[in-house]
Amino acid sequence: MSGKTWSVPGWVRANLFPGPLSGLATLAILYLAWQALPPLVNWAFLDAVWSARDAGPCRAEHAGACWAFVTDKYRFILFGTYPYEAHWRPAVATVLLIALWIVSLVRAAWKPWLLLPWACGLTAIGVLMWGGVFGLGYVENERWGGLTLTLLLVTFGIGCAFPLAVLLALARRSSLPVLRGLAVGYIELIRGVPLISLLFMASVMLPLFLPSGVSIDKLLRAQIALILFAAAYLAEIVRGGLQAVPRAQYDAADALGFSYGQKMLYVILPQALRIAIPPLVNSFIGFFKDTSLVLIIGLFDLLSTVKVALTEPAWSGFGVEAYLFASLVYFVFCYAMSRYSRALEREYARGRRSAFWSLDLPR
C-alpha cells in the first residue's frame, strides 16, 4: 500500500479478494453472515424480552432471548445470598477492590507505598463484608457470593500465591539439591493433576489433616487449594524470569560480596520479576477463569450464582441467556487484563532495545 493513495475498491481488492481461493472464502463468509445474522439479531435484540417479573413473556410463541432473567436476577448473580437489604456493602467492597487493582496496574504506582492503600482497602472490605462493627450487622462468610466472592478469591489467591511462588522458584534454581528436589517435586505434582482434584482434596481431606477439634470453613479450604495450585504455576513463570537475567548480573553481585539474600533482593529479583510481569498477568487471567471451578465444591462464586438462579422453576430453561451473561462478565475482566499485558509487553520491547543490562557480556 506504500506510495499509493488509499481507496475503497483498492482496499477491498487487496484485502478481500487477493486470490481466487481467498475470494471464495470471503464470499462464503459473507453468505453465512447474511444467513445467520438476521435471525441472531432478531433473537438477541428485536424479539428479546428485556424485563418481566417471571418467565411468562419469555415462553410466548415467538419470544427471543430472555434477558429478563438477567434483569430480574442480577443482584443475586452479583452478590449471592448476602442479605438483600445490605447489598450496598458487597457493592462498595467490589468497587473498592476493582479500584485497588486498577491503581496497582499503573507502573508509576509500583512502589512500597502501594502496600498502604491495599492494607487500608482490604481492612475496609473486611469491615464491609463481615460487619459486626459501626452498626453494620454481622454477616458470616457462608453468605458471601457472586462477583464479590470471585474477586476476593482471585485477589487473595494471587496475593498469597505470589510470595510462595517466588520462594519455590528460588528453591528450584538453588544449588542445594535437597531444596531443589523438594521444589521440583511440589511443582510437578501440582501441575500434573487437575485443579478439581486439589479442590476435592481441600474440601474432603483437609478436615482429616487437622487435629480433631480444629475446623476451617469451606471458603478458606477452597482458598487454600487455589493458593497451592496457583503457586506452582506462578513459580514456573518466576523461574523463567530468573533464567532470563544475564549470568553476569549474578557474578557482579557475587563480586560485590553480596550475601545470597542481598543478591536476590537487590539485584536479581527486581530484574527477574520485571521480565516476568507480562506472562504473570497472562497467568492471572488463567487463574481468574480457574476460580469458576469452586462451583464444583459448592461455593457461591459468580458462575455458581448463575447456575443456582437457573434452578428456580420460574426461570428454568434459560441457560443459554444466563451463561452468555456470565461469559460477558468474565470476558470484561479477562479481556481488560489481556490488553493490559499486551500493552506492557510492547512497552518492554521498546525499552529493552536500549537497556544496557540486557547485553549478555561474554564471560
Partner: protein
C-alpha cells in the same frame, strides 16, 4: 562460583532444616489423619475396590459395565471415558487450531479478523462457562427426539443426543482394522527404508503418495475380499427415544465440543507464533535453491516452525486432558466423576483422591514423555 568459608556447612544446615520441616509437616498431617480416621471408624486401604459399586453409568467406552460390577471396574470405565474424550479432543483441537492459526495469518482481512475475534473471545471466558453454555444449547434449543432435526438421511440431532447410522455387525470390519494396522506398519518401514536409500544418492520415491497408498489400499481390499457388506444399523425412533445406530450423548457432545473449541483457540496462537517465528528469508532461500513451494514448506519452513510449536503444544494436550475432569460438572462419567461418586458412597476420600491424582500424573508424564521424545526428533541436531 565464589565459595565463602563455612558455606558448605551452612548449605548442609539449610538443606537439613528444609527436609526436617517438610518431614515434620508430613508427620503432623499423617498423624492427624490416622487419628481422625480411627475416631470416625473409617478403615483405610483399597479393599473397597472389590465391592459391588451399585450405581449405573450413563455411557461406557469398550468396557461393559452394570451396577452389579465392582468399584474397580467402575473406575476403569471412568478412565476409558476420560481417555476417549481426551483423544477425540486432542485430535480435533489440533486440526481446528491449526486451521484457525493459519486463518489468522491469511491475507484475507475478513478471515483473519474472524479468526482473531474467535481466539480473543474463547480465551477470555472460563471453560466451565463454555461447557454449561454448550450443554444448555444442546438440551434447550435442540428439539425432542420426536421432532429431531435430520440434516442428512439417517442422522438425527435431538436434545437426547446425536444419532447416526453405524455399519452393521460384520467380520469384514475386523479384517479392515487388521489390514489398516499392517498397512501403517508397512508405511513406516517403507519411509525409513526410503530415507536410508535417499542418503546413498539413489533416485527417490514419491514417499507420501506410496505411504498413503500403503495405509489405505489394504483396508479397501479387505473390505472387498470379505464380501463388501452394505448393511447399515440405522437409528429408529422407538417410543420417546432412538435405538440402534451410533449415539453421541449430549454430555459427551458438550464436553468434547467445549474442550475442542477452547483448546483450539490456544493451539491457533501457538501455530501462528510458530510460523511467524520462521523468517521470510528462509522461504526466499528455499526458492533460491530451486525448491518448489511444497518442498520449501515441507523441508525448510515446517521443520523450523515445529521446533517452536511442539513444546507449547504439549502443554495444551496436557491441559486438555486435565480439563476433561470438568466433565463432573455436566454429568459425563469420566474418572473424576466416578471417583467422586465412589468417595460419596464409601467415604474412602483419601484412596479416591489418590487414585485420581495417580491416574492423571501417569497420563501427564506419559504425554510429556512422548512429546519430549518427538521434540528431540524435531529439535535442532547438534552441529556435527
Amino acid at each position: 562460583m565464589y565459595a565463602r568459608r563455612g558455606s558448605r556447612l551452612s548449605a548442609l544446615l539449610h538443606q537439613a532444616a528444609a527436609l526436617g520441616a517438610t518431614l515434620a509437616l508430613a508427620w503432623f498431617l499423617v498423624a492427624n489423619t490416622l487419628e481422625n480416621l480411627a475416631e470416625r471408624n473409617i478403615a483405610s486401604g483399597f479393599a473397597f475396590l472389590g465391592r459391588e459399586a451399585g450405581f449405573a453409568i450413563g455411557e461406557t467406552t469398550f468396557i461393559s459395565y452394570s451396577a452389579a460390577d465392582s468399584y474397580l471396574r467402575a473406575l476403569a470405565v471412568g478412565i476409558a471415558n476420560t481417555a476417549r474424550v481426551a483423544l477425540v479432543g486432542i485430535v480435533a483441537a489440533t486440526f481446528l487450531g491449526t486451521l484457525i492459526g493459519l486463518a489468522r495469518l491469511s491475507h484475507n482481512w475478513l478471515l483473519a479478523r474472524l479468526a482473531a475475534a474467535y481466539v480473543e473471545f474463547v480465551r477470555n471466558v472460563p471453560l466451565l462457562v463454555q461447557l454449561f453454555f454448550l450443554y444448555a444449547l444442546i438440551t434447550e434449543y435442540l428439539p425432542a427426539p420426536r421432532a429431531a432435526l435430520e440434516p442428512l438421511p439417517g442422522f438425527y440431532l435431538s436434545n437426547r443426543g446425536i444419532f447416526m447410522p453405524a455399519p452393521g455387525p460384520h467380520s469384514a470390519y475386523l479384517w479392515m482394522l487388521a489390514a489398516f494396522l499392517a498397512g501403517s506398519v508397512a508405511a513406516l518401514l517403507f519411509g525409513r527404508w526410503a530415507r536410508a536409500r535417499r542418503v546413498t544418492g539413489a533416485r527417490g520415491f514419491p514417499v507420501p503418495e506410496i505411504g498413503l497408498a500403503l495405509v489405505l489400499v489394504p483396508p479397501a481390499l479387505a473390505y472387498l475380499a470379505a464380501g463388501a457388506p452394505t448393511e447399515l444399523d440405522v437409528p429408529q425412533l422407538v417410543g420417546f427415544n432412538f435405538t440402534g445406530g451410533m449415539t453421541i450423548t449430549p454430555e459427551f457432545a458438550a464436553l468434547a465440543a467445549g474442550l475442542v473449541l477452547y483448546t483450539a483457540a490456544f493451539i491457533a496462537e501457538i501455530v501462528r507464533a510458530g510460523i511467524e517465528s520462521v523468517s521470510y528469508g528462509q522461504f526466499e532461500a528455499a526458492y533460491a535453491i530451486g525448491l518448489t513451494r511444497r518442498q520449501a514448506m515441507r523441508h525448510v519452513v515446517l521443520p523450523q516452525a515445529l521446533r517452536a510449536i511442539v513444546p507449547p503444544l504439549t502443554n495444551q494436550y496436557l491441559n486438555l486432558t486435565k480439563n476433561s475432569s470438568l466433565a463432573v460438572a455436566i454429568g459425563y462419567p469420566d474418572l473424576v466423576s466416578i471417583a467422586n461418586t465412589t468417595i460419596n458412597q464409601t467415604g474412602q476420600a483419601i484412596e479416591g483422591i489418590a487414585i485420581i491424582m495417580l491416574v492423571y500424573l501417569t497420563i501427564s508424564l506419559s504425554i510429556s514423555g512422548f512429546m519430549n521424545w518427538y521434540n528431540a526428533r524435531v529439535a535442532l541436531r547438534g552441529r556435527g
